[in-house]
């Protein structure tokens, strides 16, 4: 155990932890909202995020991000952000249509819905992981070799952007970390306001609270569910973009671990609760970063899982309690 390192680097560790936590929180939103409305763990949401990271990566590659700088680079990055959001949202909507709606219609048990979600998650991840083979069948592998090669290893965009570090009162802060935290928290605040104030948002909350009454009051349940998946997808797309800025590599199975952690964050904060997702994400990110400083980075993932188990035991409804329906949302 290395407490000296921990105490000497506490500010840096906290800020990187917050940056990770902000990304968890953005992904956690997707879990939390779908759970709030459908009581379903959307196991495949991690894949929604994963596709977002590839959309970002490939957009940067296709637009020549490696050679660009200045305004052009910024334009490319904005395009990449929109690509990631678009792709993630699309995948989320397809998921809803293919893997869940048939089940919701039949009012299938939740266990079955979860199994469908797990299946969909594996299909999506494997399609990405086997893209070289699939492209081979379609005889596209020559044209797309840059994109489909290395299907089962890390795909990197390192070096595309510079990441200046700032020195604030003797603490070295990564500009990207700050960007990630500000962007994520900003998005969450916007979303929170949207769900609380807009008509569509109220529809979501009404459906979460009492689907039947909401339907009687003219809230279209299918539309509401779609909207929930759409918002979750958009947020996962933003998370994917920020993640790629920070980490710069992705892989076909990157979603799994991040997904589990984001779900942990959602449970931590109180599933179904938007502000809880933010709080849970930040707490988890920081705890993980502190923990790995103390126990060693190889224990990082163990820390997250242990935290999840502990939280569920001590406070099964999470830090802020569960409520998408309640006004606290």
């Amino acid at each position: 155990m290395n407490f000296e390192f921990f105490f000497n680097n506490l500010p840096e560790l906290t800020i990187t932890g917050l940056a990770f936590g902000a990304i968890y929180a953005l992904i956690a939103l997707g879990y939390t909202m779908v759970y709030g409305v459908l009581q379903l763990i959307n196991f495949a949401h991690s894949e929604v995020f994963m596709y977002g990271t590839f959309a970002m990566l490939w957009t940067v590659m296709a637009l020549g991000g490696r050679e660009a700088d200045g305004i052009k680079l910024i334009a490319i990055m904005i395009a990449a952000l929109f690509a990631a959001m678009l792709v993630s949202a699309l995948i989320a909507l397809v998921l809803e249509r293919v893997a869940y709606r048939p089940l919701i219609k039949r009012d299938a048990p939740r266990l079955i819905a979860l199994i469908s979600a797990i299946g969909a998650s594996f299909v999506l991840a494997e399609l990405m992981g086997l893209r070289d083979r699939i492209a081979g069948w379609l005889r596209l592998d020559d044209d797309l070799s840059e994109y489909v090669s290395g299907a089962r290893i890390n795909n990197s965009m390192a070096g595309v952007i510079e990441k200046p570090r700032w020195d604030v009162a003797g603490v070295s802060i990564s500009s990207i970390d700050v960007l990630v935290i500000v962007a994520a928290v900003g998005m969450m605040v916007l979303l929170d306001q949207f769900v609380r104030r807009s008509r569509l948002g109220k529809g979501i909350r009404a459906t979460a609270q009492d689907p039947e009454t909401a339907a009687l009051m003219g809230v279209n349940p299918t539309r509401t569910i779609q909207l929930t998946f759409l918002i979750g997808g958009l947020m996962a797309g933003i998370a994917a973009f920020l993640y790629m800025l920070k980490i710069e590599t992705t892989r076909y199975d990157v979603g799994f671990l991040l997904g589990v952690k984001a779900f942990t964050a959602a449970v931590l904060g109180g599933i179904g609760n938007l502000r809880g997702a933010l709080l849970g994400g930040l707490v988890l990110g920081v705890a993980e970063n502190w923990g790995s400083a103390i126990f060693g980075t190889e224990w990082r993932d163990v820390i997250a899982f242990v935290l999840l188990v502990l939280i569920l035991l001590v406070r099964p409804t999470g830090l802020l309690g569960e409520s998408l329906g309640k006004a606290r949302a």
């Binding site: 009581q39 379903l40 763990i41 293919v98 893997a99 048939p102 089940l103 039949r106 299938a108 048990p109 939740r110 266990l111 079955i112 819905a113 979860l114 199994i115 469908s116 797990i118 299946g119 969909a120 998650s121 594996f122 299909v123 999506l124 494997e126 399609l127 086997l130 083979r133 799994f256 589990v260 779900f263 942990t264 449970v267 190889e298 224990w299 993932d301 163990v302 997250a304 899982f305 242990v306 999840l308 188990v309 569920l312 035991l313 099964p316």
Partner: protein, 374 residues
């Protein structure tokens, strides 16, 4: 057909079961074409099938009978395997027959330790907690030198044979030529020597474990314990109000499942002789779950078929091995959306479903009339 079978006198039924079991034991010696796996040792494939059957039976108790979704079942399997590996090779040199019971108990105890706090939380949280548990077990193995870290553990003990390397006697295999079937005097299996080349004795060991567990499963299901599980799965509150200590029985299901998982892991480690954390990926938990769900959770025979499919198909069609996970993903989605009760649901579920549908149709009819009247 099933009814005709149930109507038969008991001795006839027992005879049929014994014959079936004998056939199962003889399968790798017969090496029937089509079924047997070209390019891969058939005995080895059958051993894998038997381990999957064992695991599926265990997981079926947890998921199918008690209705608890466990996504970390591989964790118990790993605990059984690692205990056996440590005790017979890495840190001690116990005989296998002593190490396996310890491994099984270790798995069961870990099941109780994990279950006691978590079985109180909501059902779908349990899925995530168990998933976390499976990963923690693997990551601990990866990070702990004492457990051989990523390099794993070698030289795990083999089961003791009978009569040394020569065994008691040798059994020739069948050879299927063009239109002829011969006894193959070059290809023999020694009874009973657990070596490296011939996998058939391991299959016999696995099959024996499956049969024992299967009988235990039948005895338990058809008792107060089985009824308590089913009642808890159907309506936990009502079960509790009828005097069923549901928490105790859920924990019992969890521990029983862990017990069987640990046994499977121990047998696997012994046959393999070598284990490392790669053998215990989350993927396996999902494959086991696929076996249970595909077969039809709650029906032990369906679950065995599911295990056979999951273990056998990728070996038989090895070219498609890379696509195995994709195929199971597709299978899970299709099953969930088209046939949620699995390929072979328990007969009663079918009957109940059927009636439910009829009732629903009736109700709809009645509702229609009513609104017409208004």
């Amino acid at each position: 057909m099933k009814n005709r079978f149930t109507a038969m006198p008991k001795p006839v039924k027992i005879l049929i079961w014994v014959l079936l079991a004998l056939f199962a034991y003889a399968l790798p010696l017969l090496e029937p074409p089509i079924i047997s796996t070209p390019g891969v040792d058939f005995g080895g494939v059958l051993f894998t099938v038997s381990i999957y059957c064992l695991v599926a039976l265990g997981l079926n108790i947890v998921v199918g009978y008690a209705g608890l979704l466990d996504l970390g079942y591989v964790g118990f399997y790993a605990i059984g395997a690692y205990t056996v590996a440590i005790l017979t090779s890495f840190h001690a040199s116990w005989p296998l027959l002593l190490a396996i019971p310890v491994g099984v108990v270790a798995a069961m105890v870990s099941g109780i330790i994990l279950g006691a706090p978590t079985l109180r939380v909501r059902g779908d949280y349990l899925a995530i907690v168990t998933l976390g548990f499976g990963e923690i077990i693997r990551l601990v193995a990866v990070n702990t030198e004492w457990l051989g870290d990523t390099r794993g553990i070698k030289n795990i003990a083999k089961p003791p044979g009978i009569g040394g390397e020569e065994g008691w006697f040798q059994i020739p295999h069948l050879f299927w030529g063009d239109g002829t079937v011969l006894l193959d005097s070059d290809d023999k299996t020694t009874f009973l020597f657990f070596g490296v080349l011939d996998q058939i004795p391991y299959y016999w060991m696995g099959l024996t474990a499956v049969i024992v567990v299967l009988i235990a499963d039948i005895l338990i299901k058809n008792s107060r314990v089985g009824r308590a599980w089913e009642a808890t799965r159907e309506d936990e509150d009502a079960a509790e109000l009828m005097g069923v200590p549901t928490f105790k029985f859920k924990l019992l299901a969890f521990a029983t499942g862990a017990f069987i998982g640990g046994l499977a892991g121990g047998l696997y480690a012994s046959r393999q002789g070598f284990i490392n954390p790669q053998s215990f990926l989350l993927l396996f938990s999902i494959l086991y779950l696929a076996a249970v769900v595909v077969g039809g959770q709650g029906n032990r025979w369906g679950v065995l078929v599911g295990a056979f499919l999951v273990a056998y198909l990728p070996q038989r069609f090895r070219d498609f091995d890379d696509f195995r996970v994709l195929a199971f993903g597709v299978a899970l989605v299709l099953l969930a959306t088209l046939r949620p009760e699995g390929l072979f649901p328990p007969r009663r579920t079918v009957r109940a479903k059927h009636l439910e549908q009829e009732l629903e149709e009736l109700e709809e009819g009645a509702g229609g009339e009513e609104s017409a009247r208004v």
